[in-house]
Symmetry: C2
Subunit: 542 residues, 2 copies
């Protein structure tokens, strides 16, 4: 017993659970008239935003929602989805954001596994949800969201609509159901490519810290105008619904992620920040000049979700965008590793700068440890930019665990680290660089080939728009790299030309042995679906 262990306990005055929900009451009281959300012609002030959140939350409570219930939502990036990020956790319930690209069967699995109590459905997705509900054993309260900006709306399938729900609530919400910062607040299913998806559970504490973590590594000196290109169902939009409220910024909604809508919103609303997978950046980079003319310069872009090829970084920067590359997974609240920039690199040429920026980087200050470990010995790999190990995380922005899956949780947290499944090297300066997902690495003649490395070279070819590399079974070598390539409009390219280009730019054994010219299948978050490509390889060469 030391002198500090007596009479200095936690009490109501000095200990409040950390929660990102609290950011809203602060910003709404300080900047009530500032625009919180823009959607089409609608501008929602922070005052109105908070009133709607309070009505939303109190109506849910009236309807019986309580701590530990699951409230699911399937929606485009619309105001109700942002509001759900505050209203649902305020009731003590858990927000389960559904991936809009899933089929009815996968959605039904999630409704069942997450034990859905309330389901909010943007009517754009009512067809698939009707089927999912028919397949599911759950009978949640279903609420339709009728978005005036939605042009592909279907029939309502719910008991009431969102506007009616809001009318049931009160302008003020004074109850406090957040009694413990470790309490669950969000449930996000991973897009597992094999087996059933796993339900990643977030705490209030973790979401609070990752929301603040972004502000430390991504400069927002003025209140940002943030454009929603990243799907909000993906890791709760990487926690940005909370980050932007914490800094009193404006969130610009967008139903469709396509170049015209994106660039129009950028020009009209003077967008300062957005997040997107590299594939979204690639889309903007290759857009027709008519879209790009007039886009404000120095828009800050956070990219993550797949290692961006250096060529994409270079291309976007040449258009005047300011890229910050980050890395993360659903299990760590989205990005929590950043490719920090050092002023001493400013003078390097643009290729070298892009290559440096293409590395995944270092931990956020709010995640306590990220390292590349040998998964056998759990020792850090040497910082030699060559030895491959597994990226592991330890800290407060690591998930609570997988819902109702103790085995998976225990495996993921073995030896006191979260095992990401991503393979990487560590550079002499401590920056980590992804080589591959464990399952994406190509093993040819006993040598590891990083599909990411080969893709990085392919993207340097002036005629290649997109590229993805997977393993092709090979009698002699075990596996060899097979590249899927999309050619830019107006270019013609042969298999031999591509292979020759690769051989000139990398060790010969790493060069693809076969090239397939085709469109690339993508997930809703813009990630290339390598499992689809692997199936294609089997049907082509199997």
């Amino acid at each position: 017993m030391n002198i500090y262990q007596h009479g200095l306990d936690q009490c109501q005055a000095n200990s409040v659970p950390l929660t990102p929900i609290n950011f809203l009451s602060r910003t709404a009281s300080v900047f009530p008239g500032r625009t919180a959300i823009i959607h089409g012609s609608r501008h929602i002030s922070y005052r109105t935003f908070q009133v709607e959140v309070n009505r939303f939350a109190s109506a849910l409570v009236k309807r019986g929602v309580k701590t530990g219930d699951t409230v699911a939502i399937i929606a485009a990036n619309i105001p109700a989805f942002i509001e759900a990020h505050f209203a649902v956790p305020m009731t003590g319930a858990v927000l389960n954001s559904l991936n809009t690209r899933l089929d009815a069967q996968a959605l039904a699995y999630i409704l069942d596994h997450g034990e859905c109590d309330v389901l909010l459905v943007d009517t754009a997705f009512s067809d698939v949800m009707r089927k999912a509900l028919a397949l599911s054993s759950r009978q949640p309260l279903v609420i339709d969201i009728v978005d005036p900006e939605c042009t592909e709306s279907s029939a309502k399938i719910g008991e009431l609509d969102f506007e009616t729900l809001l009318k049931e609530g009160h302008d003020v919400f004074e109850d406090n159901f957040i009694t413990d910062e470790w309490q669950a607040m969000a449930l996000n299913y991973t897009s597992g490519t094999t087996g059933n998806p796993k339900g990643v559970v977030y705490s209030h504490r973790g979401a609070y810290l990752n929301a603040l973590g972004h502000t430390l590594i991504w400069p927002m000196p003025e209140p940002p105008v943030y454009l929603w290109t990243l799907p909000m169902f993906h890791c709760n939009g990487w926690c940005f619904p909370w980050t932007i409220v914490a800094v009193g910024g404006t969130q610009v909604c967008l139903r469709q992620v396509e170049v015209g809508a994106i660039t129009t919103a950028m020009k009209e609303h003077h967008v300062t920040h957005f997040c997107g997978a590299p594939i979204v950046l690639n889309m903007i980079m290759n857009a027709d000049q008519k879209y790009l003319t007039g886009v404000p310069r120095n828009i800050k872009v956070m990219t993550a979700g797949a290692p961006p090829p250096a060529a994409v970084i270079k291309g976007m920067e040449s258009l005047g965008f300011d890229i910050t590359q980050t890395y993360g997974l659903t299990e760590v609240y989205g990005p929590c590793v950043v490719s920090e920039w050092k002023s001493e690199w400013d003078d390097r040429d643009s290729d070298k700068r892009a290559a440096l920026k293409a590395r995944q980087g270092v931990r956020y200050p709010t995640e306590e440890a990220v390292d590349v470990l040998d998964p056998e010995t759990m020792e850090p790999v040497p910082a030699d930019a060559e030895t491959i190990g597994e990226i592991m995380f330890r800290g407060n922005t690591t998930m609570k665990g997988y819902l109702k899956n103790e085995t998976a949780t225990e495996n993921a947290f073995a030896d006191g680290w979260f095992h990401s499944g991503d393979l990487a090297v560590k550079h002499p300066d401590g920056f980590i660089e992804i080589r591959d997902r464990s399952k994406d690495i190509i093993i040819s003649g006993g040598e590891n080939i990083s599909s990411v490395e080969v893709e990085g070279i392919l993207y340097q070819h002036p005629a290649i728009l997109e590229a993805a590399v997977v393993a092709r079974p090979d009698e002699k070598w075990g596996e060899t790299p097979c590249a899927f390539v999309t050619v830019k409009d107006g270019f013609v390219l042969s298999e031999d030309e591509v292979i020759e280009f690769c051989r000139e730019h990398m060790a010969r054994f790493k060069a693809p042995k076969s090239i397939v010219f085709s469109d690339l299948p993508k997930t809703s978050t813009g990630k290339i679906q390598k499992f689809v490509l692997r199936e294609k390889v089997r049907s082509l060469f199997g």
Copy 2:
């Protein structure tokens, strides 16, 4: 039992105690070559900073320092003091920063009450500490800090010096003694003007959150160059030793807070940020032009510690400084209320802007509640800019309590709020504005007169350099205001002129009835010592 209450527990991988100490290992590994500290001609890189901190901490552990011990330090703003902010808490011990202006008796009281185990003494303060040790019942290990920049150094009084201590340590420190974020990490005695000072105890959690809180309200998009004008012993330099490390900035040390040294450092090191009491700002504002020429424009200044008169804000801004006004107390880790600026005020004239900025403002996002309550009913006062109540705090950046003083702790935390003792009004926009310390309010004929308000008017007089107002006993009115005034060089001013000026600018009953021309006694943090003025009033008019 809901589905989220099983199999989702805290473990090593997802739960790490929050501590600002962790910022150092992150910044040192990402930016090892960046300058962390400048002191005279010495530039300390983050690599060296971390090595010195590790040597410091491991040497303390070797010497027997353990969790819950008290390590006191008395020093100017020098590198060893910054390092102590990391090294001491790393051992699990508590850093007790001593006010350099205290006398031997007060220091002896603190050594005894805080049960000092180790004492670090900048030799500039060895005379008073030798006396304090003689008066104290403690026999701590005493370590001398011999600062090469110190020109008024006295004899060593310790068992060893700081450089020798560092040699006893190791470059690497791998033990982790921070097992609980609620653990005590700092002990700061308030400068109580009556009775014995109280020992305010900080936790790792609170310090982490307030350190991050600053970054949310004070823009630091580029790594800041932070000048130490604020004494580091004051609320741990308002948590800035940790904040600046979190954002990878440079801390410029400064032994003497005087205009020549301050402005020279600003020019030489391209200072971007500093903190200071209004009295420091007043000193800069009234400095000879020779000092001000060449000072970089747009230096960001955080001021707190006393309500700054609007005239001081206006004067500093006209010189090109960018003022952020904050408010706090030792008990809330320094500032945690900020006078947030709204862009719609940009167009107001400079007087109106200064008046808006002179209000204390709103809570930091990291402190969960700040309000003005009626201390009897504990209800919020109406937001009418008139009704006076007491400022109260609730949240994670409120102290653990007062060391070994359960009665004071219970009183301070009565009804679940920390009672600040500061009286304020709430404006219709929710911003709070201090009227007075409870003990500074003047009650004249039953009417409250805010000494701060009267001082604000006095500062508008072109011939007045400094002003302070206290109560003077009065047979008829009970009390009347008495103003102490310092006149600017080259000006002459009469009592009648000052009283007339006040009557022209405020309600007649609020105008001072007597004016005393004199220098103003100040604390080491630049606060005017009103209790000294009250004694003077008693001897003059008693």
